[in-house]
C-alpha cells in the first residue's frame, strides 16, 4: 500500500508534466488537423532556453519564462514558415505530416551542431523531502506540480472564458464555418501555435529540471508518451488530454514499481495500443468515431 501511494505521488508529478505536453500537442492538432511530430523539439528548445538563462540568472520564473518564450517562438515560426504555406499549396495532409518529421530532424540536428550530443546537466536543487499525507515529494516536485497545474488552469480558463478560447474552439470544430461567422481563423491558428509552443517549452523546462539532464534528442524521446496522452484524451480535445495525461502518468509511475523503470515507455505504448484498438477517439469520447474509417 505504501509503495502504491509513493507511485501515485510520483505519478502526479509525471502526470502534471505530461498533461502540459499533451495539451499543447492536442491544441495544435485541434486548429491545424496535423499531428506535429516536431512537437518534441519544442520541449527541447524550451529546456535549452531555460538552461541558457542560467548563465545570467538563476530563478525558476525567469528560466520558465525563457523556456515558454522560446517554445512559443519556434512553434509560431514553424506554423508560419512551414505548415501554413504547405496547406495553402494544397500539399496532402499525410505529406505535411512527413514534413513535420523532417522539421523535427532539422531542429534536433541544429541543436546537435550548436551544443553537441553530450548530456548537459541541468538540475534545480531538489530541496528537502516532505511527507504530504501518504506521498513523498521534494520541494522541487511541489514547485513543478504547482506550476504545471497553474498553467493548465490558465489554459483551461482561457479556452472556456475568453473570446480567443471561444474562437479557438470554433476554428477547431470547423474552420470554414468559423471564418464565415467572422472569426479571423488565420490569427487564431497563429495564436494557438504560439500558445501551444509556449506550453510545450514550459513543459520541456520542467521535464528537464526534473530529469536533471538534457540532450538534443530529449524532447523526441518524450514525444511517444505525449502523443499517447493526446490520443488517449481524443486528439484535438484539450480537456481530454489533461485528464488522460494524468491517468497515463499515474499508470506509468505506479506500474514502474512492478516492472523495471526503464520500461515505462512500454507501459505507455501498451496503453496507446489498447486505446487505439478499443477507444480510438479517446477515453472520454461519446459520439461516433473519427479515427476509424
Amino acid at each position: 500500500m505504501q509503495t502504491v501511494a509513493l507511485g501515485v505521488g510520483f505519478g502526479l508529478v509525471t502526470g502534471a508534466i505530461l498533461g502540459l505536453a499533451a495539451v499543447g500537442f492536442t491544441l495544435q492538432y485541434a486548429v491545424s488537423d496535423i499531428p506535429n511530430l516536431a512537437y518534441g523539439e519544442l520541449l527541447t528548445y524550451g529546456a535549452y532556453a531555460g538552461y541558457l538563462t542560467t548563465r545570467w540568472v538563476h530563478s525558476f520564473s525567469a528560466e520558465a519564462l525563457a523556456a515558454a518564450t522560446a517554445g512559443g517562438l519556434v512553434a509560431w515560426a514553424m506554423n508560419a514558415g512551414m505548415i501554413e504555406p504547405f496547406v495553402r499549396a494544397r500539399v496532402r495532409t499525410i505529406a505535411i505530416f512527413i514534413g513535420t518529421l523532417a522539421v523535427s530532424q532539422i531542429l534536433q540536428n541544429l541543436l546537435l551542431l550548436v551544443f553537441g550530443g553530450a548530456n548537459v546537466a541541468y538540475v534545480l536543487p531538489p530541496g528537502a523531502l516532505h511527507h504530504v499525507g501518504p506521498f513523498l515529494w521534494t520541494v522541487r516536485d511541489g514547485q513543478v506540480m504547482a506550476a504545471a497545474f497553474v498553467v493548465m488552469l490558465l489554459v483551461f480558463l482561457m479556452l472556456q472564458c475568453t473570446r480567443f478560447g471561444k474562437s479557438l474552439r470554433a476554428v477547431s470544430e470547423n474552420r470554414a464555418l468559423a471564418r464565415a461567422s467572422g472569426v479571423d481563423a488565420h490569427r487564431v491558428v497563429q495564436g494557438t501555435w504560439f500558445l501551444a509552443g509556449a506550453v510545450a517549452g514550459f513543459a520541456g523546462f520542467v521535464l528537464a529540471v526534473t530529469a536533471g539532464t538534457l540532450t538534443p534528442s530529449f524532447g523526441f524521446r518524450f514525444l511517444l508518451v505525449t502523443v499517447t496522452g493526446a490520443v488517449a484524451g481524443g486528439l484535438g480535445k484539450p480537456h481530454g488530454a489533461m485528464a488522460a495525461a494524468l491517468i497515463l502518468g499515474l499508470a506509468m509511475e505506479v506500474g514502474a514499481f512492478y516492472v523495471d523503470a526503464a520500461y515505462k515507455p512500454l507501459i505507455a505504448f501498451g496503453i496507446l495500443v489498447l486505446v487505439l484498438l478499443f477507444r480510438p477517439d479517446g477515453l472520454f469520447a461519446s459520439s461516433v468515431g473519427r479515427a476509424v474509417e
Binding site: D33, I34, P35, L37, M82, P85, F86, V87, A89, R90, V91, R92, T93, I94, A95, I96, F97, I98, G99, L101, A102, V103, S104, Q105, I106, Q108, N109, L110, L112, L113, G116, G117, N174, R175, A176, F220, R221, L223, L224, V227, T228, V231, D260, A262, Y263, P265, L266, A268, F269, L272, V273, L276, L277, P280, R290, A291, V292, E293
Partner: protein, 329 residues
C-alpha cells in the same frame, strides 16, 4: 580507394533492398510506416544471433547458433515478418493514416527501448559483434578480394528482388494495391479486400527489410542500438521521394543519390568545429530540407511511377476534401 568504393556500393545495394521494401508499403499501398527501421534492425540482430555462435561473457543474447548465412537470413526474414504481422495486425486495422503512422512510430520507439534495456535479448546497449563473412569459410577469399565477392552477392540479390518487384508491380496485386492507395472506399466497393491487401504488402515490405538486415549484418559485422535511430526511416522516405515513389528503378536511383552520395559527401565537409557530430548533423539537416522541398513543390521524383494517378491534383470539390483532412493532390 577501390575498396572504399566497393564498400559504398555494397551499402547502396543493401539500402536499395530495404528502400524497395518500404516502397511496397508506402509507394504502393500508401501506408506511412515509421517503424521500418525497427524491422531492418530486427533482421540484423536475428541474422547475428543465429550465426555468431557464443561470444565470451559478459555479452548475453538469445540463441547463439552457428548457422550458415542463408539459414540465418531466412530466420531473420521470418522473425521480421512475424514482428511486422503483430504490428500490422494492430495498426492496419481500421485506423486512419495518421493514427497508423503514430502507432508504428510508437512501436519502433518501444522496440528500441526494449532492445536497449533488456540485455538478455541482444546484449542491450553494447550490441553484438563478430558476424562471420558469409560463405568465406568455404571460399577462403583473401581480405582484398572478399569485398568484391560480397558486393557481387548483394548486387545479385538486389537484381533478383528488383525483377520480382517489377513483375509484382505490373501484376493484379500491384494494381490492386495502388487502387487501395488512391481510394480505399472505391477499392473496397470494387470488391478488393483492403485489409488483406495492405497486410500482405506490409509483410512483404518488412520481409525485404529483414533480408536487407541480414546483408547489413554481414557487411558491418557489429551492431548496437545506436546504429538504428528510428528517425532514420526518414532517410529512406527521402530516397523514395527523390527517386520516384512507387517505381522500383526510381527507388534504387534515389538510394544511391541520397543515402550513398549525400552521406558520403558530408564526410568530406571541411571541419569547422570541434564538434564530432558536425558531419552527421549537417547531413541530417540537408535531408530534412530536401524532404520539405520535395513535398512542398510536389516533385514526383526523377523517375516517376507511370502507374500512378496521384500526380494530378483534383481541382473541383477540393475545398470539401480539405475539410475532411483527406488527400488533395
Amino acid at each position: 580507394m577501390i575498396q572504399y568504393l566497393a564498400s559504398i556500393a555494397t551499402q547502396g545495394c543493401i539500402f536499395s533492398i530495404v528502400a524497395l521494401g518500404l516502397n511496397v508499403i508506402w509507394g504502393w499501398a500508401g501506408d506511412l510506416d515509421l517503424a521500418f527501421y525497427g524491422y531492418l534492425a530486427t533482421g540484423v540482430y536475428m541474422a547475428m544471433v543465429t550465426s555468431i555462435g557464443r561470444l565470451p561473457p559478459p555479452t548475453e543474447y538469445i540463441l547463439g547458433w552457428h548457422l550458415p548465412f542463408p539459414a540465418a537470413a531466412l530466420i531473420a526474414i521470418g522473425s521480421v515478418i512475424l514482428l511486422a504481422s503483430c504490428v500490422g495486425a494492430v495498426a492496419l486495422r481500421r485506423l486512419r493514416a495518421v493514427y497508423f503512422a503514430i502507432t508504428t512510430l510508437s512501436a519502433v520507439l518501444m522496440l528500441q527501448t526494449f532492445v536497449s534495456d533488456y540485455t538478455p535479448l541482444f546484449n542491450g546497449y553494447n550490441g553484438l559483434y563478430g558476424m562471420p563473412q558469409p560463405f568465406n569459410d568455404t571460399l577462403r577469399l583473401s581480405p582484398e578480394v572478399y569485398p568484391f565477392f560480397f558486393l557481387a552477392f548483394c548486387a545479385g540479390i538486389l537484381g533478383g528482388v528488383f525483377v520480382v518487384l517489377e513483375r509484382l508491380s505490373a501484376s493484379p496485386f500491384g494494381r490492386a494495391l495502388r487502387a487501395v492507395r488512391e481510394d480505399e472506399q472505391a477499392a473496397a466497393a470494387f470488391g478488393r479486400n483492403v485489409y488483406g491487401l495492405k497486410f500482405t504488402a506490409y509483410a512483404l515490405g518488412a520481409a525485404l527489410a529483414g533480408l536487407g538486415g541480414a546483408l547489413l549484418a554481414a557487411s558491418q559485422g557489429a551492431f548496437n542500438p545506436a546504429g538504428w535511430p528510428p528517425d532514420e526511416t526518414l532517410d529512406l522516405y527521402v530516397a523514395i521521394f527523390v527517386g520516384g515513389m512507387g517505381n522500383p528503378r526510381g527507388v534504387i536511383l534515389g538510394v544511391f543519390l541520397v543515402i550513398v552520395l549525400l552521406q558520403e559527401a558530408v564526410r568530406f565537409l571541411p571541419i569547422v568545429t570541434a564538434n564530432p557530430s558536425f558531419p552527421a548533423a549537417t547531413g541530417e539537416i540537408l535531408i530534412g530540407l530536401m524532404v520539405l522541398v520535395v513535398i512542398r513543390y510536389r516533385i514526383n521524383g526523377l523517375l516517376p511511377d507511370l502507374h500512378s494517378t496521384d500526380t494530378v491534383p483534383p481541382r473541383r470539390g477540393a475545398g470539401l476534401r480539405v475539410e475532411r483532412g483527406e488527400a488533395v493532390g
